[in-house]
Symmetry: C2
Subunit: 91 residues, 2 copies
């Protein structure tokens, strides 16, 4: 599946990311990937559902994947963090 743009979810308000996704669709991008790690995962789900249900007509969540990522923390120690990828596209 071709994915044209990725929006990374972080500490900003949910609606900032909803607008970032909506702007992509407005510019003609057919598919947007929403990515988040750790506690931002809940916000990523909110963003995807607000876009699909209320913000951009004729969009639908097309796929969701979750994986454990291995990172190195600030102290140089290896650590594991959950991550999510949500693909949303025009139908």
């Amino acid at each position: 599946m071709e994915v044209n743009h990725t929006v990374y979810i972080g500490g900003k308000p949910t609606m900032n990311y909803v607008l970032a996704v909506a702007t992509q669709f407005k510019d003609g991008t057919p598919t947007v990937m929403i990515k988040a790690r750790g506690r931002s995962i809940s916000k990523a789900v909110d963003v995807a559902l607000i876009v699909q249900d209320r913000f951009v007509e004729n969009t639908k969540v097309q796929g969701i994947g979750i994986v454990t990522e291995e990172l190195t923390d600030e102290g140089g120690q290896p650590t594991k963090v959950s991550s999510i990828e949500i693909i949303i596209g025009k139908v």
Copy 2:
């Protein structure tokens, strides 16, 4: 897909829910549904990935669904909340 048991994710520590899921598999349940709403969604993803990657051999996330649920809040007002369902099963 037959789902034999559901674990609802709430405010307890992550490992409590990992153990709840692991206990189901130990008792012979072939498929467990993990459900969460709102901010608990991140924890649900953690639970599913810890079970799959580290805690119960030969299990795999088989499906993930997200929907907006409409609820009535404490003040009697309608409110919307994101929810997730993760199906994890023996492979």
